[in-house]
């Protein structure tokens, strides 16, 4: 048993890894096939023609380069939303950890409750709100709600509590540094690792969002990439315009930025998840 156990574990792990990488491998292989080969060479078989570069070129020009427009939209929505969300969460979390003020208790209960409210549950009522504000079919309808990250406040609060020493703040006060300057020039720097984590997670959450933009936007030029790819994939084959090869190539291109970010910033998301799990 003991001699069998380890190789068996190793084998199970290897098979699991294959399972988790399988869809990505499929996308890689199939992005190299033209529209015809996609149907004739099934699965992981390569097609007769290596068409990756043709696909990429077509991706850039199809429907006047709509694909890259969608990518830019996504980067903009995720970048703007995550930046503002991080700033708001950092300020609020830090204040709740370091100052005593009226309403602090109520606010923290509300934020904790909000962590349990799924964002999809809010999408429909948010749509009604945006209609009232005249912001439906406007990028702001996607960006503004994305600026709220209750879990970000929670993380910032914990991190500020443990990494910003009161002595440092007091010393700055003695030197006559104002409270806001203390935050922006001292505390925010001490909180930098947590801020990167909050930014990263919010960025991913907005990048992945589908329901909110689906509800809010109906002009194709405003779509983020998720909505765009689904739109292409829903084009019925009967329309005589089969673009599955563009969907596959587009899927490949669209995941590259996030996968790269995760590979490069491993330390940050791991520490963020660790903070969330230990303290939650």
């Amino acid at each position: 048993m003991k001699r069998l156990g380890l190789p068996l574990t190793q084998l199970v792990l290897l098979l699991s890894t294959v399972y988790f990488l399988l869809p990505l491998a499929w996308v890689l292989v199939n992005a190299t096939k033209g529209s015809d080969d996609l149907f004739s060479a099934i699965g992981f078989a390569f097609g007769e023609r290596f068409a990756l570069f043709d696909n990429l070129a077509e991706l850039g020009t199809y429907q006047h380069g709509l694909f890259w427009r969608w990518m830019l939209n996504t980067v903009f929505y995720a970048g703007a939303g995550a930046t503002v969300a991080t700033l708001l969460a950092a300020l609020a979390g830090y204040t709740m950890a370091k100052y005593r003020f009226r309403g602090s208790g109520t606010l923290s209960v509300l934020i904790l409750g909000a962590v349990l409210v799924p964002t999809t549950a809010l999408a429909l009522p948010l749509y009604f709100l945006m209609v009232d504000l005249g912001l439906d079919n406007n990028p702001l309808a996607v960006i503004l709600p994305s600026c709220v990250s209750p879990i970000g406040v929670y993380l910032a609060r914990i991190y500020a509590g443990s990494s910003v020493p009161n002595e440092v703040m007091d010393a700055a006060r003695v030197d006559g540094v104002g409270e806001y300057s203390i935050f922006f020039s001292i505390s925010a720097r001490l909180m930098a690792p947590a801020l990167v984590t909050i930014f990263l997670f919010q960025f991913v959450a907005i990048w992945n969002n589908f329901f909110l933009p689906l509800v809010m936007l109906n002009e194709r030029a405003l779509y983020p990439i998720t909505l765009g790819l689904v739109d292409w994939n829903s084009t019925p084959p009967s329309s005589g315009n089969v673009i599955y090869h563009l969907v596959v190539t587009g899927a490949l291109v669209s995941v590259i930025p996030l996968v790269a970010a995760f590979l490069l910033l491993q330390r940050h998301w791991r520490s963020g998840l660790a903070a969330g799990s230990i303290t939650a």
């Binding site: 990505l24 370091k98 409210v117 429909l124």
Partner: protein
Amino acid sequence: MSQVAAPPRRTGPDGGTPRPASRRRAPRRIGVRAVPYVMVAPFTAFFALFFLVPIGIAVYQSLHGTERAGLLGKPKDVFVGLGNYAEVLTDPGFHSGLLRVLGYVLLTIPVMLVLSAGFALILDSGIVRLRRLHRLAIFLPYAIPVVVATLVWGFFYQPEFSPIAGALRSLGFGTPELLEGGALLGSIANVAVWQWTGYNMIILIAALQAVPVSVYEAARLDGCGELALALRVKLPMLVPAMLLAFIFSLIGAFQLFNEPAVLRPLSSSVTADYTPNLYAYSKAFTDAQPGYAAAIAVVLALATFAFSFVFLRAGQRKGAL
């Protein structure tokens, strides 16, 4: 906690002699006292407007119905009290969606939790090779948007492209119907397990690493093998983190929308009431019944809250949290 009172004493107007080098103007007492309020104000404003107000709107909408005077008359909001709720609670479409979501919960969460705990224990034990590579590969699906993941798995499920169907056909079996009937829910569950197992695994690994090494050393000194250590010492320590993962997975499962919505063009089995969330969406946008849709959203949110609350309390009572 390390909280300090505001206003901080030492920055008071007479707090010691001002340093000559300080360029500070005369301090304002009110300004200092307002500091924490000013700093939480931006978040609070956004939170109120885009979190609390929508909840209020949903409740308001859910108490109203739309009435038209004649076929071409202007639609008008009328107060219907709890009428929408009574209808939702007895709506077979809502029931079937809820049942389907429960089935989805049973298909995904146990598998996902067992897999993520298993991977976490194996990778934490340090007995296997290429740990970093395995950990990264298992986590990688989290970096893929749900929509893209579903699109790709959708290709796996379609008979025309599917490597699964291709392999089965070449072995002499028929083409499996992975996108219709009961199999569809399993196919959707597979996407969720694929996507979230690694994320939960990383959380569990972090929880294991937070345990002091001395605990493990003591167990080893007592003659505890790696397997017994994993099952008798480490696994019980994972219970709180697993309970949290369970609750968050439950919250997500109740909101199931993206996967069926993306697979809808490929499958006739994805009906407008496939999940409660899909039902609410089609009620709001296809059937123009925003009040009814809002009632579905509110009932769903309350059910989610009730479920997660019950499990949280149960966990607290058992001392797991």
